[in-house]
């Protein structure tokens, strides 16, 4: 899937480790740009809306194609089973069984069926909601409980990107498929970390990931006055800019616990986040 051919930047906010401050950064960054769009792609646990508090204007169900077999036409030849890499369809005894929850929706079985016995059914994987708040355009996805496949839903959330404005993506934590789906083909990745051994370990994994994806990145060190200096040393060694340091401040934690974005609770942070955006713009422009 291609996300290119846009005019404005798409900035993703990611982290190896969970709980480092992705949402804090993503919401505050989006709110300080002005007329931007925020997309919460952490579809397994979306929480940006708790801070942005948008008025939701609509909700759409997202589905994935799954095979539907017409047993009367089926000759039990087994071609569908042979092509399926996910064991989602199997011929057994005198019938064909499908396992929709294992299906990746590629359509291979339908194409391979010589009898034309397979057509497209649907499986609901989640919902997408959109709304507005304080001039911010907001979109998030919410995966159906029990559903395992986040990437197709994340791609659907991303299909709502408005190319005319700057988009900020709040990515899921980790470095697995959902993260790749959220950050690939964005213009810049902000990696949020904390100066602890866990933060550093998972930051290194995240840096390896963005290197493979060839996306320029910068680091934000949250709770920067705890832990040690090894994250900063690592950043210097890897030649990755440290874009911002957020201290371990009780007032910031209190605002967070009330669901207030940092930039709304503290005007001085609005200026810093606006500066962060300018810095990212420069870094991306410098690369082109």
């Amino acid at each position: 899937m291609k996300y290119r051919n846009f005019k404005k930047m798409i900035i993703s906010v990611a982290s190896g480790k969970g709980g480092t401050g992705k949402t804090t950064v993503a919401t505050s960054l989006a709110l300080s740009i002005g007329g931007a769009q925020l997309l919460d792609c952490d579809v397994e646990a979306p929480n940006s809306h708790l801070f942005v508090r948008p008025v939701f204007e609509g909700e759409d169900t997202v589905t994935m194609p799954v095979p539907r077999v017409d047993e009367d036409k089926c000759t039990l030849c087994g071609e569908c089973e042979a092509i399926c890499q996910f064991n989602a369809i199997v011929t057994i005894a005198d019938t064909v069984m499908t396992f929709p929850e294992l299906c990746h929706g590629c359509g291979g079985c339908q194409a391979a069926c010589p009898a034309g016995a397979i057509d497209e059914g649907k499986r609901t994987i989640g919902t997408i909601q959109h709304g507005r708040s304080n001039g911010l355009d907001f979109v998030h996805g919410r995966i159906r409980i029990g559903e395992a496949m986040a990437p197709p839903l994340i791609r659907q959330v991303r299909s709502r990107i408005n190319l005319d404005v700057v988009a900020v993506i709040d990515a899921p934590p980790g470095t697995s498929c959902p993260v790749i789906a959220a950050i690939q083909d964005t213009d810049f990745v902000v990696l949020v970390t904390e100066p602890t051994p866990f933060g550093l370990n998972d930051l290194e994994l995240a840096v390896e990931t963005v290197k493979i994806l060839k996306i320029p990145s910068g680091i934000i060190i949250n709770r920067s006055d705890i832990g040690d200096g090894r994250v900063a040393e690592y950043a210097a060694r890897e030649n990755i800019p440290v874009l911002m340091e957020i201290p371990y401040d009780r007032k910031i934690a209190e605002a967070y616990s009330r669901g207030e974005p940092v930039v709304q609770a503290f005007p001085q942070w609005r200026r810093r986040f606006a500066g962060l955006y300018e810095e990212i713009e420069k870094l991306v422009a410098g690369r082109k």
Partner: protein, 120 residues
């Protein structure tokens, strides 16, 4: 009738593999003669998902009349059910002993999967 036993090794002396879908192999035993053949399950062992489904397919295609194993998940169970193959779970020890127990009528088929799906 052949008995399919999930096994860690390729003989009657081998230890029964508690996992059905990701068993190392299946030993198909003729209970009357105790002759046997071995079917490797290496492909399913490394499958990212749906190992139980394919393992059930394997034993069904090879004409198993009954399956003896440790645990059987819901997907493998439904496939075996569709093929009309009873599953006996909760068995451990050597393959040979499992077959002897079956012959002595000490084992009875389970009426549902013994474990939850890995998937959800």
């Amino acid at each position: 009738m052949k008995i399919a036993v999930s096994s860690k090794g390729n003989s009657l002396e081998s230890e029964l593999d508690a996992r059905f879908g990701r068993a190392a192999c299946f030993v198909f035993v003729d209970p009357n003669t105790m002759s046997y053949e071995v079917v490797e399950n290496s492909e399913n062992l490394n499958a990212p998902q749906g190992a139980g489904i394919q393992a059930a397919k394997t034993v069904a295609d090879r004409g198993a009349g009954v399956v003896i194993t440790g645990n059987c998940g819901p997907k493998a169970y439904t496939v075996l059910q569709q093929a009309d193959i009873p599953v006996i779970t909760g068995v451990s020890g050597r393959v040979k002993d499992a077959v002897e127990q079956y012959k002595n009528g000490e084992l009875s088929p389970s009426n549902g999967p013994s474990v939850d799906s890995h998937w959800r």
